[in-house]
């Protein structure tokens, strides 16, 4: 399931609800991304995530579909906040459930890596010296490229 929302979410409550009551899930992998109080040497007071409504959900649903095609997943949850957030607040939660751990781990990393390079979000940071748009990082592109497959079948 994909959720893009302004309101804060509670990662613990989401994890409690995720695959609750199921007895076929052997491994659950979770990634929780939160706002940090620094970016390199810069102090971060707050961060605003802008996105492209409609396109964001479409891209995230496509990522979920791709993850389910590649790994035998029993469930997938992606929650991504938009709007203004302060340090310590959750930004994104990605959870994957599978019979065995390897699929859960790989799918979770895949989703986070592709989300960072394919979902239309933009970060604006508030620092003591003013605001600035975060620049895309080459390391994110490299991380996402690990999961590339030849286009031809």
């Amino acid at each position: 399931m994909i959720r893009v929302q302004e309101q804060p979410f509670d990662p613990a409550a989401e994890l409690a609800a995720f695959t609750a009551g199921r007895t076929d899930v052997g491994g659950t992998a979770v990634f929780l991304g939160r706002v940090r109080d620094r970016d390199g040497d810069l102090v971060i007071r707050a961060m605003t995530l802008e996105h492209y409504p409609g396109m964001t959900e479409r891209m995230l649903e496509r990522l979920e579909g791709e993850a389910r095609r590649r790994w035998p997943l029993l469930d997938v949850l992606v929650i991504h906040r938009v709007g203004r957030m302060t340090p310590g607040e959750p930004i994104v939660l990605v959870a994957t459930a599978a019979a065995h751990r390897r699929a859960a781990f790989e799918a979770c990393e895949f989703l986070v890596d592709w989300l960072k390079t394919r979902a239309p979000f933009w970060k604006f940071e508030e620092t003591p010296a003013g605001g600035r748009w975060v620049e895309a990082r080459a390391s994110d592109d490299e991380a996402a490229a690990r999961w590339e497959r030849p286009a031809a079948e």
């Binding site: 396109m55 390079t117 239309p120 933009w122 895309a136």
Partner: protein
Amino acid sequence: MRVRYFAWLRQRTGVAEEEIELPPHVRTVGELARHLAARHPRFGEVLDSRGVVRFAVNREYAGPDTPVGPDDEVAFFPPVTGG
């Protein structure tokens, strides 16, 4: 045609979105960007910076050669930085 701008590109155009009349000679995203550069000079300034401006047509990633028509929604934005 509806055109949308995001993040710091939006700050360069001064508008988040606008309805424009598609001129007959504009048939691709690249041609549309050139056309809009005349309207928004500070947007035009960065158009040639390699990899800085990304495109979507109807909420799908697109390239400069992707065709556009009067009923399309075209978006311009910088590389994404979510997660």
